[in-house]
Assembly symmetry: C2
Homo-oligomer: 268 residues x 2
């Protein structure tokens, strides 16, 4: 067994980030990261539990899983924890009627939610829908509310697509927060409640789970705040400067998911 990984012996389940860990997304549909599909198969064959814990909001879970399966990943809809269903639960609990500023392909996730006469704004990674007109519309609705409610599906700074880094939902969240002088409620990583949902679906307590992601703050920092161990892969949006992050230190770095799985399985 590799030195320094003794803590991994207790592991019973893995939470995996998806974009930047399983594949690199892109307008072309994205490309799998070498070794990751095989790594998912090895996790399942080992008897470890697996749950995908993603901030993906550019597609319904059904379409997201279809895309992953087409790339060779053996995953199912039940194995995906994503922000939109969590947001729907929150909207229903609080009687909120959203104006959606999200990707067209995410809209079906909100099919059963009353969207008339909105009393909040739900912001996702709207990509091409982040137009000047749409941002002004969301802003005008918020500033017109007696008490503006802004719900953001994640707060990532940026992500990597095959043709380069792209601004993520967190940047647009900050724009609306500043303009309206409000603080968004984040549904998705790094929110503790979201990780707790993912752990509940994984069926494993935090001290027996490992999060594997490419985002130092949203994956690694968020999971550690929940009592999990967390690894950062050197794929996806990983940048060498992440290793000097002033606050977050992963339990270990790995070159990619395949290497993480190699090492973890050696501990068992």
């Amino acid at each position: 067994a590799m030195a320094g990984w003794g803590w991994a012996r207790a592991v019973r389940g893995l939470l995996l980030d998806v974009s930047g860990v399983l594949y690199d997304s892109g307008a072309d549909g994205g490309v799998p990261i070498a070794g990751s599909a095989e790594a998912v198969r090895r996790i399942k064959a080992s008897g470890l539990k697996l749950q995908l814990c993603t901030n993906e909001t550019q597609a319904t879970r059904e379409n997201f899983v279809r895309k992953l399966r087409a790339m060779g990943f053996d995953v199912s809809v039940a194995e995906v924890t994503a922000p939109a269903p969590a947001a729907c639960r929150l909207l229903k609990e609080r009687g909120l009627r959203p104006h959606l500023l999200v990707h067209d392909d995410l809209v079906p996730e909100f099919a059963e939610i009353d969207k008339t006469n909105p009393n909040c704004v739900v912001l996702g990674d709207a990509a091409e829908n982040f137009t000047y007109a749409n941002l002004n519309e969301a802003f005008q609705l918020l500033i017109g509310m007696e008490k503006p409610v802004l719900i953001s599906l994640g707060k990532g700074r940026y992500y990597k697509e095959t043709d380069g880094l792209k601004l993520d939902v967190g940047a647009y969240m900050k724009a609306l927060e500043y303009a309206c002088d409000v603080q968004a409620e984040v549904v998705g990583k790094p929110a503790k409640r979201f990780f707790e949902s993912a752990l509940a679906e994984l069926g494993v307590p935090p001290e027996q789970a490992i999060m594997i992601g490419d985002d130092i703050e949203n994956d690694v920092g968020g999971a550690q705040q929940c009592g999990m161990r967390a690894l950062q892969v050197r794929t996806g949006k990983y940048r060498p400067s992440d290793e000097n992050h002033p606050e977050v230190k992963p339990d270990a770095y790995v070159n990619n998911l395949a290497e993480a799985v190699d090492i973890i399985l050696q501990q068992l």
Copy 2:
């Protein structure tokens, strides 16, 4: 003389914000605010000095003044202090070559600036140029710099156009600041250096100048930080909730510029 305005007796010059004070801007070119053109004439007739101190970055000063004159305002280019010329001075001083994310009509202000191989991003109120693609391009340039330099022409939250409130440059500044983990350098109100330039052009020390604006933070707060008195007009982006601002308290409120000029001239 009106009670509580004794301090106005020392006044020798006025700095006026433009949008929301002289006129309300809009895609239709905007409409003058009732009484403001006459108020500008009365200021000049009184012998008080006058300088327009604007964060306007949707046009060159020449075109901006042409528009104001067409609306009946007796103003000249020399009477306008605006962010773009101040930014050009700063770029030259520091040998910075900007990538511009600004309104098309502002680009001529940067005609003499070297824009090859950019080593900073200059952000203005780009309006329709705030597209997903343009924001990603500016972001990618910044994140690729060893030490990202972001220069923002103002940091307003929003402004009022004839068809409603619009997100101002400050919101997009916050988006890029967050994504790149940098702090923008603001050229324009409320930067002290910018007010000092306006006062130098006015030719009056701060204790003999009054700023009149509709923006509680950028006009009123910024001017007061420079040792000026400042009035907030209840036109433009003014909202009743401004009167409960946690930090900034104007020296007085006035319904509009005409009322401000009435009262000030009564003190002389």
